[in-house]
């Protein structure tokens, strides 16, 4: 039984209203007060075992389930509102559904399949329903971002758990202005725990009449991130890259990245281009995630080089104090 919600797979206190999508979860028809909950548990006396993960985006209650088997990589997905963060994650899942491999690792399960299916479904054809973009991720009153999980096995057969944050853009806008803003708690969570970042630049915004504001907002966010990121890798995602922006603006932004970030790489990404025949759609999605995970792995597991001793007698393999 979920806290406060009558639905078994919704955890409103952690990740907001999952079922009805209410901005204020207390307005949801499934919301129940503590008193109502006690009544329900008195009736419910089955011996059924309730699974410890609900399949939707993970929150604090069920995060332990994944973190129990090893330290997960947290990928902070950072960007302004409607920059394409959720669409990026949807594309990642759909691409992996066709080619379930990155160059250095491949899919080995997920405890948030419901969460992935939910966001990916917007980009799918369902009966007569046309695909569209995922709706705006609601900011709600959450303490931490929803986390989408994926287990990946690398060439050395090591299993790594990766958690992608799916957070609303408003959190980052507030965080960029005031690091201690009460409504930016989720952004601070990401800043603290992320092993690497996907940083979104909304090409469309830079091609529009609002490009001045877009640049101002991006600078604020970039400098906030730059001040806390230290050497953690940042994949700069030029989202909606099928939209052409002025070369001068692009160059200017690229200079800013160079001055602010230490360990970064740029990627062009478009999920649903106007040119329906474009062949490289989705390419930047897999490339950026591959680069990020490889950079994180390098940092966290530096290769220890031990000089090799070649001798038939195992006794001489002892390296003593030099090793």
């Amino acid at each position: 039984m979920a806290d406060g919600c009558k639905q078994p797979n919704c955890w409103p206190l952690d990740t907001g209203c999952n079922i009805e999508g209410e901005a204020d979860y207390q307005q949801c028809k499934y919301w129940q007060t503590d008193a109502q909950q006690e009544d329900k548990s008195a009736i419910d006396q089955t011996a059924d075992h309730i699974l410890p993960w609900h399949g939707n985006a993970l929150g604090t209650t069920d995060l332990l389930f994944v973190t129990g088997r090893g330290h997960p990589f947290v990928v902070g997905v950072v960007g302004a509102q409607s920059a394409g963060k959720t669409t990026f994650l949807s594309s990642l899942y759909l691409l992996l559904n066709k080619t379930p491999r990155l160059p250095s690792r491949s899919y080995s399960g997920s405890y948030t399949l419901g969460g992935w299916e939910n966001i990916a479904h917007y980009l799918r054809w369902d009966g007569d329903g046309l695909p569209g973009f995922p709706p705006h991720t609601s900011s709600g009153q959450n303490r931490m971002p929803g986390l989408l999980h994926m287990a990946l096995r690398n060439h050395n057969s090591q299993l790594h758990d990766v958690l992608f944050t799916d957070a609303p853009g408003e959190w980052f806008s507030r965080w960029a202005i005031d690091k201690q803003d009460p409504s930016a708690e989720g952004a601070r969570w990401i800043e603290r725990f992320a092993s690497g970042f996907l940083f979104f630049v909304d090409s469309e915004a830079f091609a529009s009449v609002n490009r001045g504001i877009a640049r101002n907002d991006l600078q604020n966010l970039l400098h906030r991130l730059g001040s806390t990121v230290s050497n953690r890798p940042v994949a700069v995602i030029w989202a909606k890259s099928d939209v052409v922006i002025a070369q001068a603006i692009r160059k200017k932004l690229q200079n800013e990245f160079q001055n602010t970030l230490k360990n970064y790489k740029e990627f062009d990404v478009f999920a649903a281009p106007n040119d329906v025949n474009a062949e490289n759609r989705g390419k930047g999605v897999l490339d950026s995630v591959e680069w990020l995970l490889s950079s994180v792995a390098e940092q966290r597991y530096p290769t220890i080089k031990i000089p090799r001793l070649v001798d038939s007698d195992p006794f001489f393999a002892y390296r003593g104090r030099e090793a």
């Binding site: 078994p8 797979n9 009805e20 999508g21 089955t46 011996a47 059924d48 075992h49 309730i50 699974l51 410890p52 609900h54 399949g55 088997r69 090893g70 594309s91 759909l94 691409l95 992996l96 559904n97 066709k98 080619t99 379930p100 491949s106 899919y107 080995s108 399960g109 997920s110 399949l113 419901g114 992935w116 299916e117 990916a120 479904h121 917007y122 980009l123 799918r124 054809w125 369902d126 329903g129 046309l130 695909p131 569209g132 973009f133 995922p134 709706p135 705006h136 287990a151 096995r153 057969s157 299993l159 469309e204 909606k240 999920a271 649903a272 106007n274 329906v276 025949n277 759609r281 989705g282």
Partner: protein
């Protein structure tokens, strides 16, 4: 039961062909023509009574009611004479769908899963829920167009469903996947093979599964060691049977085939069970 009694867990959603296979398996075992045979006639074959009767008239068995879970004990022996007791269940496949949809396991299923040493999973590819998406079937999307279908209920894709189902089974069994698994062994039966339109008649079942469900297949390859994972094709009745048009010349024991992992066909329907038993003994 003998000491070597092994319990196989038979897992399949509704209409994936569990009952047909059970009935045909009984027929083959009694004929003593397969690699596996029975040492003695099962004490009770009540659960297949109805299935045997309708199949003998060339009609398909009806849907097993949702709440039913019954089993028959096959006292088997392998080709080298080793005695094995196989508990074969018959149940309404909704019980399996409910595990994923309702995220709860009845106590009796917990027990079955923990006691099992090999799993037989039925997947009927032609009944899979699959979607086309904006990447595979292009659509011109207006950037202002956000989807308004988001409150509508939708079914998970088959890939997500089967990944989650196996994750639930593994969790309940207490089998971690930090390293690839040797136990429990897994045999997947791609059922109703005869209804699949194949470009190449010699397609290997594992390759077909990779083409149709790439993400699920990758999950399998990353979760099991290759020796303890096998995929077979299965056509229990050899062709589609029609409830309204009995085929009076139909002889169940002569019908049905298995597609072996190498793509060749065999009429010995006991082979997938043999494979599973060899892996777990």
């Amino acid at each position: 039961m003998t000491n070597s009694a092994k319990t196989l867990l038979v897992v399949g959603r509704q209409a994936t062909g569990k009952t047909h296979y059970g009935v045909q398996l009984l027929g083959r075992l009694r004929q003593h023509t397969g690699k596996l045979t029975v040492r003695a006639n099962p004490e009770s074959i009540a659960i297949f009574e109805e299935g045997l009767r309708v199949l003998a008239q060339g009609m398909p068995a009806s849907h097993t009611p949702t709440s039913v879970y019954e089993s028959v004990l096959f006292p088997l022996q392998s080709q080298n004479g080793q005695p094995i007791d196989l508990v074969w269940p018959d149940y309404g496949g909704e019980q399996v769908s409910n595990m994923v949809d309702q995220r709860r396991l009845p106590a009796i299923w917990q027990q079955r899963i923990s006691e099992s040493s090999g799993w037989l999973l039925f997947i009927r590819l032609e009944h899979n829920v699959e979607y086309q998406d904006a990447q595979s079937r292009p659509v011109v999307l207006d950037s202002d167009h956000t989807d308004t279908r988001h409150l509508k209920k939708f079914q998970w894709s088959a890939t997500a469903f089967y990944c989650e189902l196996l994750q639930i089974l593994l969790y309940t069994k207490g089998a971690g996947t930090i390293n690839r698994l040797q136990s429990p062994s897994l045999v997947i039966l791609l059922s109703c093979w005869d209804e699949i339109k194949l470009a190449n008649e010699n397609t290997m079942p594992f390759d077909l599964l990779s083409q149709r469900m790439p993400l699920f297949t990758e999950f399998l390859k990353n979760s099991w060691v290759p020796d303890n994972l096998a995929v077979f094709g299965l056509s229990s009745t050899g062709k589609a049977l029609n409830k309204n048009q009995p085929d009076y010349d139909y002889i169940p024991e002569d019908e049905g085939y298995i597609v072996l992992p190498d793509g060749s066909k065999s009429t010995d329907l006991t082979l997938p069970i043999c494979e599973l038993i060899e892996q777990i003994v």
